[in-house]
């Protein structure tokens, strides 16, 4: 009986780490295989109940990149609802995480995941020709960001979300809301010490001009003199570009003998490797102009920021767990040295770091804006073939492209 329990526990813990390993491998494969292929592999998998949110976040993102917008909405909505339901604390999961390892806790998403899910949902609604659905997601994202807001911290505050909100509002001709959202995107970028993309500078000038807010227009003209345009009319092309795949977490472990030498103590913490990402941009050209995409969201940095935010809590839980395991092994050793040794092996094997994250997201989200009188534009990047797009039928266009495939998604009105 005792042996059976030991085997089950071993299987449980190795099962969790194997699942994490295969998920991370699949995310790495995204750089070499198209999203449709990775999606089909992921769909064959049945997620552990504790990994439900992580699985559906990745699934929904891949469905979006594959142009399966309705399934993407379903998957991402499930992930969103699961993360919301996991806001409350579970006593049984805390006991599991406090005595075995962190993977026994359900994945409830990092602050950025909780906001980013609305971005991906909004894009899925938009390319499914439902701009009002996209607007709902942007309002929910605003609530999510307010919930996560902390003094002097930018955790869970995404410039890309404000930008997407602004674009949706602008398309719905809600000028004041659009202007506020462009301003919020600019504020976050400035606080993060990132360059404000040219498209946002032009948008701030355009919206203040359209609203007739002369004071704001004069102030912004002085702030961004290079971005002042003669006219803000013409076809509008808002382009979003997903570049790369965000890094996976890795485990960093420390194994030491106890003071008496009778036990082995191990602690494992999640960590991100040094950023190894080469930024690629896309270019959009019409007959006359040529604009390059600029970073609006650096997800590599966001992921590290999220982990750093949670780090003190993870460290406290890990050291507390090490103390509990030490006491349990010591008590077992007193009863029976063989049992103590088996417990010690188990405590070491079961000590794995939680490496789960929304690890199929792009490394960066980039934005570019073009105002054009042409009927055709060309979207080109280093990795994929040029995409020609007919923009003759409407005045406002949102396009989404990715470094992972040649798919180009287009919303026009």
């Amino acid at each position: 009986m005792r042996n059976a329990i030991i085997v089950i526990l071993l299987l449980l813990t190795t099962g969790c780490s194997l699942q994490q390993h295969s998920n991370n491998q699949l995310a790495n494969q995204l750089l070499h295989e198209n999203p449709e292929k990775i999606l089909s592999i992921l769909q064959e998998d049945t997620p552990n109940e504790r990994d439900f949110a992580q699985y559906h976040l990745n699934l929904g993102y891949l469905q979006l990149l594959s142009g399966e917008f309705i399934p993407a909405i379903e998957s991402l909505t499930q992930a969103k609802q699961k993360m919301q339901s996991l806001n409350a604390t579970s006593i049984s999961e805390n006991i599991g995480a406090g005595t075995v390892n962190e993977t026994l806790r359900s994945y409830s998403g990092y602050p950025s995941d909780r906001v980013m899910v609305h971005n991906m949902l909004a894009l899925s609604y938009l390319f499914n020709q439902d701009i009002e659905g996209a607007r709902v997601e942007m309002l929910q994202a605003d609530i999510a960001m307010k919930k996560l807001a902390e003094d002097k911290s930018l955790v869970g505050q995404l410039a890309s979300t404000h930008l997407l909100s602004a674009i949706v509002y602008e398309l719905l001709d809600e000028r004041s809301n659009a202007f506020i959202s462009y301003q919020l995107a600019e504020e976050i970028l400035t606080e993060r010490k990132m360059a404000v993309p040219e498209g946002i500078k032009i948008a701030l000038l355009r919206m203040s001009d359209k609203m007739g807010n002369d004071q704001a227009y004069t102030r912004l003209s002085k702030k961004y003199p290079q971005s002042v345009q003669k006219s803000y009319s013409g076809k509008q092309i808002f382009s979003l570009y997903f570049d790369g795949v965000v890094s996976n977490k890795r485990q960093e472990s420390l194994t030491v003998p106890s003071f008496s030498g009778r036990q082995i103590i191990r602690i494992s913490m999640p960590a991100y490797p040094k950023v190894n990402y080469n930024l690629q941009r896309i270019k959009i050209t019409d007959d006359i102009q040529n604009v390059s995409s600029e970073v609006i969201e650096n997800i590599e940095n966001l992921a590290r920021e999220d982990l750093a935010h949670d780090y003190p809590e993870i460290l406290l839980a890990t050291t507390t767990r090490a103390t509990i395991k030490y006491a349990a092994v010591k008590a077992a050793d007193k009863k029976d040295p063989l049992l103590g040794a088996v417990f010690n092996i188990l405590s070491v094997i079961s000590e794995v770091a939680d490496l789960r994250s929304w690890n199929m997201l792009p490394s960066t989200i980039q934005f570019s804006y073009l105002q054009s009188n042409s009927n055709n534009i060309v979207i080109s990047s280093l990795n994929s073939q040029d995409n020609n797009l007919d923009i003759s039928e409407a005045n406002q266009h949102i396009i989404l492209s990715s470094s992972l495939s040649n798919n180009l998604f287009h919303y026009q009105q």
Partner: protein, 199 residues
Amino acid sequence: MKIKSGFWVALTASLLLSACSTSVERLDAQEQIDLSGAWNDTDSQLVAREMVEDALSRPWISKFVNAKGKEPVVIVGRIKNLSHEHINTNTFIANIERELINSGEVQFVASANARQEIRDERADQDLNATESTRKEMGQEFGADYMMQGQINTIVDLDGTTQVRFYQVNLELISIQDNRKVWIGEKKIKKLIKNSKIRQ
């Protein structure tokens, strides 16, 4: 001893299985059930009933009847969802339509989509139906008023507590001259407290 342990295993297994099984209970459609605090069927029915009651109790209707000698013909147009929830406005529109028709005080015409389907059927009858049963084109009832509106929300939150404020605005517009003859407003405020502990 073996039989005894077998009994306990079977009992535990059956308890576990019963905990996992799906249960279904039929409920009265009028019963008020709030699970998440989001806009639901109860809100939709309640708002539709109260707003239609309000609309039909105002002087525009008696003025119209006195002037024209017939009940006004109404159509429900677009109701925009400007809230932070994915609200199916079609069910809300259906509730308003039902309340308006059942009041017996106004006449009602089908929506644009439904009208097109009926026109297609009439066109088909024109070719295929017998003379005695064929329905002619150009006999439609033109609406006098269109009802339009929007659903807005304001959300205030603090930790696990949320106050959701819904405001539904409807207006009745004269199709002939764009006059607004009635503006209605219904507000719903919900206090939602989420548990800090889960299973």
